[in-house]
Subunit: 411 residues, 2 copies
C-alpha cells in the first residue's frame, strides 16, 4: 500500500480528505462567476485546469477548456499519464510554481458540481454474485437462484444515457404500469417499490470498433464513479418479461461528481473470486482488475438523521469492468469515449452488506428500522439516499465525493 | 389519396420513382468533390440544401450546413413545415428560380449516402402482434404465445446506438457464446443463426423531459426510415434471461439513407387494429397514427438473383410509434433529438408475411427454397439482405431508398 503524497494544499494532507494528492479526480464545476469548466479536486479546493491550460501551464490541445472531460479522455493513455504527472508536480509539497497555481484554486464550498463527462451510452450489468443470488432466491427459490448463464456471461442490458444525472439532482418518484399478482389488469400510478442499486460506474476513455481483449479493455477504462441505478421494482416486475427492464430503470441513474482515475486506484487492485466454472478464454482474468473500495449506503429521512443501511466492497464483484467491457465488444459492438458501464448491484455475503432495498427488506417482507425509529421496506418521499465509497491507503483515502439523491413525490 | 405533385425535375414525375415532389426525404451525401452534407432526394437527383442555405435561397440558421439533420430537427415543427413548403415552391413545375436551383442538383448516381442523422439513443420495440405470436408459439406453445403484459404495454428494450449503420455497410457475422440445449457448457464462435428483423424506425425530432401524451409524441416524431435489426438468434437464446437481448442485437442495425418525413406520410395514415384489451388512458389511440406502407424483404445469394422472401405492411403493428414514445416517457425518461425507435418486427398474418427468418423457417425447421434453388433457414455468408418499402399514392409512391447489407464471414 502506497503512502500519502504530501501537497502544499494543506487540506489535502488530512487523513480524512477524500481528495489527497494521490487521488486527483476530475470533475466539472461552476461558480457564481464562471460557467461550467474542468477542475481537479485537491483537499477542500478545486484546481481550475481550464485556466491553467489557458495560461499555458498545462497544454493538452485545448481539451481542458470545455465543459466535460470527454475531449481529454479521447487523447488517450499517454495524455492521461502526462496530465496526472504534471498535476502532481504542480501540487506536491515544495512545488516551485505554487503562487501561480494557487491563484486558480477555488474552494469546493463555493462551487457547484456538474456532470463530469457526457454519457454517450450507458450499459448496466448484473455481475455481483451475492446480489444475483439474493434476487434469484426471492424470485425462483434457492436451488434456481443463479440463471444457467450467470457463471459464464457477465449479464448486462443497455440502459438509458439520457437519464444519468449528477449527485444532488432531485429524483421524482416515477409512475408506470403496476399489476399485483392478484390483479386482473394493470393500473397506472406512482411506483410503490422504488429502490436503489449500489454500483460502481466504469467510464470508457478510448474507442474500439470490434472485439477487444480483457487487457485492452482494462487499459481503455479511464476511471470510475459511484453509481446509483434507481429502480422501480413494481414497474420492473410487470414489464421485464421477455425483453428485460425498461421503464423501471429509465427515470434516473445518479453518479458521483468526480471521476476517480484508474491510475489513482492502481494501489488498490484486487482479484475476482475463485471461479466455480472456468470462463471462456475471451473472458479469463489476466490479473487483478477489481479494486478494494469500501462502499456504503445511507438513508436520511425527511428532517431526520442518516442511517447507514449497507456496507460492502467493490471487490465482491464476480466480473471486473474489464471483463464486462470485453464481453460487450465480443459481437463487434463499437464502444465510444464516454460510454458508461454500471457494475451491477454490489452486495456482500451478509445481511448488512446488501446494496438494494429489495434485498435489505427481502422483497418488502422484512422492513428495517432506521435510527429515527421509522421503518423502511422501500424508499419514501423526502428520503435522501447517499452512496459513499473510499479506497483506504496508509494514512490516506481515495474518495469519490457524494452520490446523493432526494426523492420528490410524483408530480 | 392525394395525387402526384408535378416537378420540373422530370425524373420526379415517374410513377416508379421513390422520390416524387410529394416525398422530399432528407439525407446526407458526399461526392468525389464534396464532404458529407445535407441533401433532399427528388427523382434521380439530390438537391444540395447546404449550398442553397449558403447562397441564401434557404434560411434555417445554418442548420442545413452540417453533416446531419439533427440541428435542423431541433428547430421544431414550424421550421419542419416551412422547409417542406419552401422546397415544394422551389421544385414544383413552373417554379421561377429553376436555373438557380438546378445548379445545385447532384445526380444520385454520383453520390455516396451517409447516416442521415446522428443516432443519440436507440430503442427497439416488440410491438408487432403476428411476430410476437409466432415467436411465442415457437418458444412457449400456442396457448402461451403472447406474454401476459403484451396487450397492455408496448414492450421495448434499449438497443445500442453505436451500432446503427446506413444501408450498404457490410455486416460481419458476429461471434458470441453459443450453447445448444444438450451442451454441457457454452462455446465461443460465429453465430449459426444470424437473422434479420424487418422494422420501421421512427426518429425523434423534439426533446421531452417528462411524460408526454400520445398526441405530443406523434407531433415530436420527425420522420421514418426502414430498419433492419440484425439478430443472432443463438447468442440471444443463451444470453437473454433474465435481462433481455444484449450482444445478440449489438453487432449492427441498418437503416435506409433517407428520412421520410411524417408530413410526406400524412396521406397514408392508418389505424391500429381493434384492441383485445382496453389500453390504459396514457396509451389510448387518439386517431390513426400508423401508416399504410408496403414492405418487403429480398435475399440475394452471393452471385445469384434476388428472391422476395416476405411481403407485409407497417399497418400490421399493434402499437404506433407515438404510443411507443408515450410509453417510453411514462417513467420520466428524457428523450433527445436524434433518438431512434425501432417498431419491432413487422409480420403479417400469413406465412409469406413474416419479417424474420426465425419465423420464415419456423426456427430452422422449415427452410425456404430461393429462386436459385438454394435453401435458407438463416443468413449465409455472402447473402445480401434488402428491405424495401413504399406508401402507394394515386400515380406516385413514397419510397425510402434501399436498406441493404451484405454478410461477411467472421474475421
Amino acid at each position: 500500500m502506497s503512502e500519502l503524497m504530501k501537497s502544499w494544499v494543506e487540506s489535502a494532507n488530512s487523513p480524512e480528505t477524500p481528495f489527497p494528492l494521490n487521488n486527483l479526480p476530475y470533475g466539472v464545476f461552476s461558480t457564481s462567476d464562471t460557467a461550467p469548466r474542468c477542475g481537479v479536486a485537491i483537499g477542500d479546493q478545486i484546481l481550475d485546469v481550464s485556466a491553467l491550460e489557458a495560461n499555458g501551464l498545462l497544454s493538452f490541445g485545448g481539451s481542458l477548456s470545455g465543459s466535460s472531460w470527454n475531449a481529454f479522455m479521447a487523447l488517450g493513455q499517454d495524455s492521461w499519464a502526462r496530465l496526472r504527472q504534471e498535476l502532481t508536480t504542480l501540487l506536491e509539497d515544495g512545488a516551485p510554481n505554487r503562487s501561480v497555481v494557487e491563484a486558480h484554486l477555488v474552494p469546493q464550498s463555493h462551487a457547484t458540481l456538474h456532470m463530469p463527462f457526457e454519457v454517450i451510452e450507458y450499459t448496466d450489468f448484473y455481475a455481483g454474485r451475492h446480489h444475483a443470488t439474493n434476487v434469484g432466491t426471492m424470485f425462483r427459490g434457492a436451488e434456481n437462484a443463479l440463471p444457467p448463464n450467470w457463471l459464464h456471461i457477465p449479464i448486462g442490458y443497455n440502459g438509458r444515457a439520457s437519464s444519468v444525472v449528477v449527485s444532488g439532482t432531485e429524483i421524482t418518484r416515477p409512475c408506470g404500469q403496476l399489476k399485483g399478482p392478484d390483479d386482473d389488469a394493470p393500473r397506472f400510478g406512482p411506483s410503490q417499490r422504488f429502490d436503489i442499486e449500489l454500483e460502481m460506474g466504469a467510464i470508457i476513455g478510448q474507442p474500439s470498433s470490434g472485439p477487444i481483449s480483457v487487457d485492452t479493455a482494462f487499459a481503455n477504462i479511464f476511471g470510475y464513479v459511484l453509481l446509483n441505478d434507481w429502480s422501480a421494482r413494481d414497474i420492473q416486475a410487470w414489464e421485464y418479461q421477455p425483453l428485460g427492464p425498461f421503464q423501471a430503470k429509465a427515470t434516473a441513474t445518479t453518479i458521483s461528481p468526480w471521476i476517480v482515475t484508474a491510475a489513482a486506484l492502481e494501489p488498490f487492485r484486487a482479484s475476482t473470486p475463485a471461479r466455480e466454472k472456468e470462463l471462456l478464454p475471451y473472458l479469463r482474468d489476466t490479473g487483478p482488475m477489481l479494486y478494494d473500495i469500501n462502499l456504503e449506503v445511507g438513508l436520511t429521512p425527511d428532517g431526520g438523521r442518516e442511517t447507514i443501511v449497507a456496507r460492502t466492497n467493490y471487490k465482491e464483484m464476480y466480473y471486473s469492468a474489464a471483463q464486462q467491457l470485453a464481453h460487450h465488444t465480443s459481437c463487434g459492438c463499437p464502444m465510444r469515449v464516454g460510454d458508461l458501464l454500471g457494475s451491477g448491484t454490489i452486495s456482500g455475503p451478509e445481511k448488512d452488506n446488501r446494496g438494494s432495498f429489495l434485498e435489505i427488506s427481502w422483497g418488502g417482507k422484512e422492513p428495517i428500522t432506521l435510527e429515527t425509529g421509522e421503518q423502511r421496506s422501500f424508499i419514501e418521499d423526502g428520503d435522501i439516499l447517499s452512496l459513499n465509497g473510499a479506497a483506504m491507503g496508509d494514512g490516506y483515502r481515495i474518495g469519490f465525493g457524494p452520490c446523493d439523491g432526494r426523492i420528490l413525490p410524483t408530480a
